[in-house]
């Protein structure tokens, strides 16, 4: 089990990660969800030993990263956000090199290289220089490198950035499969659907802090039973604000000229009542949508901010 306790990391006066704690169990996929600059990559970099934490403790099955870095690193696999491969080497040569660096040798290495090439669907093109690969193929090879030595903890930092749907589906399937075999997976993303679809538990992170964590149902519960009413039209934010504020039960999630997101209590007729009041004040509405609580509404409620790509 990965245990992160009170992890902080500063760069000069900037506190990138602020006193975060979480655990990832064997076979579990834990998602760190947050916008760019939230501190996800810094967190992963600390866990894989690339950055030294300013404070805090990181352990994997009782092995402390600070005091036993080599033993700790022997148990982890890392899939960085960038495609960190040797372009002049083939997929097989890349995997052999990284596998050897992880400690694999001889027939065990060859067996694992062949297995992961099959897993990520690159067996047929394994002898081509990987600089000739498409973006999706490179991403899959990037993932394969991280898992060739069968680590106990796999750290994936936004592994699906900039690839097509098919490649993304393949990567998510592979990650699920790895977790099913007992590997603990720490997965960072800023794609809500991905986190919703893949992760057993999610930590919502922004400004270096984890605001909430739990499974999807637990997180939805944090928003309450309400609905999210999204309005678009020709209204001014200043005109809409007093109309909505007159009702204590309605909460403004976000508001700007021509667009508003409102948190509406689940009482019967509440939505029509709010809409009548707005229209009664002469404000025009062109588009209405009503959503059940989801990860986005949880995020908005906790951080008050739209997710940013």
């Amino acid at each position: 089990m990965l245990s992160v306790e009170g992890l902080s990391r500063s760069f000069g006066s900037l506190q990138a990660v602020r006193d975060i704690s979480f655990r990832v169990h064997p076979g579990e996929i834990y998602g760190l969800l947050g916008p760019n600059g939230a501190g996800k990559t810094t967190t992963i970099s600390c866990i894989c030993g690339l950055l030294r934490p300013s404070s805090g403790r990181i352990e994997l099955h009782g092995t402390d990263l600070g005091s036993q870095p080599i033993a700790f690193k022997r148990r982890i696999g890392v899939v960085p956000q960038e495609i960190a491969l040797y372009g002049d080497l083939s997929a097989r040569e890349n995997l052999s090199f990284w596998g050897r660096l992880a400690g694999l040798r001889g027939s065990a290495l060859q067996r694992r290289v062949t297995a992961v090439l099959e897993t990520v669907g690159l067996a047929e093109r394994s002898r081509e220089p990987c600089r000739k690969f498409s973006g999706g193929m490179k991403r899959r090879l990037n993932l394969a490198v991280g898992m060739v030595h069968e680590p106990q903890l796999l750290l994936l930092d936004e592994p699906t950035v900039g690839i097509d749907v098919q490649a993304r589906i393949n990567i998510l399937d592979v990650v699920r499969d790895i977790a099913r075999r007992g590997t603990a997976v720490l997965y960072t993303t800023h794609y809500l659907e991905e986190a919703q679809e893949l992760c057993d538990r999610i930590g919502i992170m922004d400004k270096g802090k984890i605001f909430a964590e739990g499974d999807l149902e637990h997180l939805k519960g944090l928003v309450g039973e309400g609905q999210i009413l999204t309005l678009r039209g020709g209204f001014a934010a200043d005109a809409l604000r007093p109309v909505v504020a007159a009702d204590d039960t309605v909460r403004i999630v976000s508001l700007e000229d021509g667009a508003a997101m409102l948190d509406i209590p689940p009482h019967r007729g509440e939505v029509s009542s709010v809409l009548s009041r707005i229209l009664g004040h002469g404000l025009s509405i062109d588009d209405i949508s009503i959503q059940e609580p989801n990860l986005q509404s949880v995020f908005l409620k906790l951080t008050g901010r739209e997710l940013r790509d």
Binding site: K73, E82, Y86, L101
Partner: protein
């Protein structure tokens, strides 16, 4: 240790995968050794050509020509008729008609050495000395054979009585000429005034040094820059190795690159071009190993401080050429002024060249390369320390 070796061999593999490597590490440097070795006088002890035009055709003029041949000249004899119709040789010695009669009568007789203006000046100067020696030896043989035959000695300021050049005299003269020299001079170079290394003796070590600087610098520097750019270095840092072990792997890889470059040139120089490598294989290996360490550490330094592949290629090439030039890889430091020779020793190449020359050109043993080796290792440690300090595994 196995991971260090994995990293080192990986760098060699990347080098081998680069298509132009055959040109940069084999064809071009071997061409350099041959070209500059030939330009600088590839033969170790060249024989000097001398054309002798014997206008006298006597026993004594023939004996004098033979004495010249024993001086190491490559003698071409010509009759005056042939000489008049032939192209002028670089060096021509004319023995005038009446040479023997003048000598017999004790009259002074000149011989004429004509040197073409474009002839090799050093060879012509040497030729002049050897002609003088041949004259002295001929006179000595005349005195010895006269003494043998009981001829009256010639007194100062008195006319000499002419002697007969007959069979008896010729036999006595030939016997005197065949006698081993009673006094010989053994010449040994030491300290200042040593000969300037030239030919293959200079071009082989110079090319080894220069191309180790260039190729290890460029390949070793570029690979590290590329690894930083592609975040491969950061990925390596997540594997079960300490940063020191990663550095050691990269250093070893670059040392192996340097050794490979040196080995290629030594094999080609020795077996293809017939270059001389000195008498101390151990000393030669020590110099090459220390130089490999220095250039490997320098390559790591370049990789650590430079940011892009293009920048690394350009800067490494220019600096390597400069270090090679001031270090005596293009021309021997023996031919530059003393201040330039001293300034040149800022470059590690100068210390490597000192060591190579000591072994190859001056026949020294391994003890002579100790100081250069210590200084090369010192340079290497300095580059390594600064490079390690500045290297960032991740942004």
């Amino acid at each position: 240790m196995r991971r260090i070796l994995t990293l080192a061999l990986h760098d060699l593999r990347l080098t081998a995968k680069d298509r132009p490597v055959l040109f940069w590490m084999v064809i071009m440097p071997v061409g350099f050794v041959f070209l500059f070795g030939s330009m600088g006088g590839g033969e170790r002890t060249p024989r000097i050509d001398l054309t002798v035009v014997d206008e006298d055709g006597s026993f004594l003029s023939g004996a004098f020509a033979e004495a010249l041949g024993r001086e190491g000249f490559r003698i071409t004899r010509m009759t005056p008729q042939v000489a008049d119709t032939s192209a002028a040789p670089d060096r021509r010695l004319r023995v005038p008609a009446g040479f023997q009669d003048s000598v017999r009568a004790g009259r002074q007789v000149p011989v004429f050495l004509d040197i073409q203006s474009d002839a090799n000046a050093a060879a012509s100067f040497t030729a002049e000395l050897h002609v003088q020696r041949a004259i002295w030896k001929t006179i000595v043989n005349l005195i010895a054979s006269g003494h043998e035959l009981g001829l009256a000695p010639v007194r100062a300021n008195e006319p000499a009585a002419p002697f007969a050049v007959d069979e008896v005299f010729e036999s006595a003269f030939t016997a005197a000429a065949a006698r081993p020299e009673i006094i010989t001079v053994e010449v040994e170079s030491g300290g200042r005034g040593r000969p300037v290394p030239s030919g293959m003796n200079h071009s082989l070590p110079a090319t080894i040094t220069l191309f180790m600087l260039i190729n290890t610098g460029i390949y070793g520097g570029v690979f590290l820059t590329q690894e930083k750019q592609d975040r491969v270095l950061a990925r390596q840092a997540t594997y079960p190795m300490s940063p020191a072990a990663i550095l050691a792997g990269k250093l070893l890889g670059r040392v192996l690159m340097g050794l490979t470059q040196a080995l290629i040139l030594i094999l080609a120089g020795r077996f293809l071009l017939g270059a001389y490598l000195g008498n101390s294989a151990f000393g030669l290996f020590a110099v090459i190993l220390c130089l490999s360490f220095t250039v490997a550490a320098l390559a790591l330094f370049w990789g650590a401080v430079l940011r892009s592949v293009e920048q690394t290629t350009a800067i490494t090439l220019v600096v390597s050429l400069f270090l090679g030039a001031i270090g005596g890889c293009w021309w021997p430091l023996d031919v530059v002024p003393a201040w330039m020779r001293a300034a040149g020793h800022v470059s590690p190449a100068a210390w490597a060249m000192d060591a190579f020359h000591a072994l190859i050109s001056f026949g020294a043993g391994p003890g002579a390369v100790l100081l250069p080796c210590v200084i090369l290792v010192g340079y290497g440690l300095l580059f390594l320390a600064v490079g390690a300090r500045l290297l960032r595994f991740s942004d």
